[in-house]
């Protein structure tokens, strides 16, 4: 068995061959979130306790298996692993021999295995069906939520993972705390009595993407209602993508779903205000030449 931490003889020595992989395998097969931290380079005095390929498997409850060779390094890497898991991004971090910041003797690759990000669509309208389909293609766990039982049916949204017949604000009170930076909320009702509580509820979550559909006129009216209802205008400007979607001239429900999903990707990757143009940053007609 290859033992990277033989020199220090600490807890790593108690692991048997295959134990880290078994832990990782069981998390992956169970769709449970997990991070595999691996040392990818090590220099200088750090080599006394840390070796290339030393590993730490980190679960969201901070439960860890393995070691990078030093308890302080493990502690700092665990903190960074959990932050990477939250954002759903793979990253390499650099540390001193004991996890010190602004040093680079040890490089650790944080390989993030996150369960599918969530897409919650409020409004069981025709555009919703296409958005559910494109969302599934992108690997989202998709929920459709609408308080009207006639519209919110499994039969209309066969690909949705969940169809909730519920008011948006109640749904978000219940499940909003689970939403994080990787997740998306799309409000497609364009009816202020549904839109406003849905947007206000979503603003109280940590959801990474929040978009609302509607013409520029609908958008302006909705904005006023949101501000009247107590929404902070600066926060709306920062977080609300409205009118929803990138300005790619989308017309059909399917094209619109692609424009919305492209915007979700652009917001996640930090490109929304740069190389591509969200509709909210463009002037003029949404449809037409």
């Amino acid at each position: 068995m290859f033992l990277w931490n033989r020199s220090t003889g600490d807890q790593r020595g108690q692991l048997v061959s295959g134990e880290l992989y078994r832990e990782l395998r069981s998390a992956l097969l169970g769709d449970e979130p997990v991070v595999l931290a691996t040392v990818t380079s090590v220099e200088g005095e750090a080599q006394r306790h840390t070796a290339l390929a030393a590993k730490l498997v980190v679960r969201p409850d901070r439960r860890c298996l393995g070691t990078l060779g030093d308890p302080e390094l493990d502690r700092i890497a665990t903190r960074d692993a959990l932050a990477a898991l939250d954002r759903g991004v793979m990253v390499t971090r650099h540390y001193g021999p004991h996890g010190e910041a602004r040093r680079a003797e040890v490089s650790v690759f944080l390989e993030v295995f996150a369960p599918p990000a969530r897409l919650v669509v409020f409004g069981a309208v025709d555009f919703t069906r296409a958005l559910v389909e494109v969302g599934k293609v992108l690997g989202f766990e998709v929920t459709v939520c609408d308080p009207r039982p006639v519209f919110a049916t499994r039969a209309r949204f066969p690909l949705a993972d969940e169809v909730a017949v519920e008011w948006p604000d109640r749904y978000l009170d219940r499940l909003g705390p689970q939403l994080g930076p990787r997740d998306a909320v799309c409000v497609l009702t364009h009816d202020t009595k549904f839109d406003v509580p849905a947007i206000l509820g979503a603003l109280r979550t940590r959801v990474g993407y929040l978009g609302a559909m509607g013409s520029r006129r609908t958008h302006e009216r909705r904005w006023l209602r949101l501000v009247e209802a107590g929404a902070d205008e600066a926060e709306l400007k920062e977080r609300l993508m409205s009118p929803i979607g990138l300005d790619i001239g989308a017309r059909t429900p399917e094209e619109t779903a692609v424009a919305i999903c492209a915007e979700i990707i652009a917001v996640r990757t930090g490109r929304a205000e740069g190389l591509v143009t969200p509709l909210r940053s463009a002037a003029g007609a949404i449809h037409g030449s």
Binding site: T40, A53, E111
Partner: protein, 104 residues
């Protein structure tokens, strides 16, 4: 990594040793992101990929060598690297691949 678990299971059940290669970093344009995983059994069977097919052959050779030596290794393939250019990473990027025995 999830997509290669079934292959690892099958090889390990047959008592074959396995090497694992993971992309740990990409500079410039690269076909696969960090985390892309390829596994190689000791008799040269392959599952998964670490590029668009350009460097897989070289990675298999490294994987078999690593099973021999038992020592993990970081391999770099890139435009600026003559040997890697020979194996043809044509996109102009550089990929760093950690190759190691799956004995952890």
């Amino acid at each position: 990594m999830k997509e290669v678990i079934a292959d690892i299971d099958r090889w390990q059940a047959a008592g074959r040793r396995v090497a694992i290669a993971r992309v740990i970093g990409v500079e410039g344009s690269g076909p696969r992101d960090a985390g892309a995983t390829m596994v190689v059994s000791e008799d040269g069977e392959v599952a998964g990929s670490v590029s668009g097919g350009c460097v897989e052959g070289a990675v298999v050779a490294e994987a078999l060598a690593v099973l021999e030596s038992g020592t993990p290794k970081v391999c770099t393939f890139g435009y600026s690297d003559d040997a890697a250019f020979a194996v043809g990473l044509t996109c102009g990027g550089t990929v760093h691949v950690l190759v190691e025995p799956l004995d952890w």
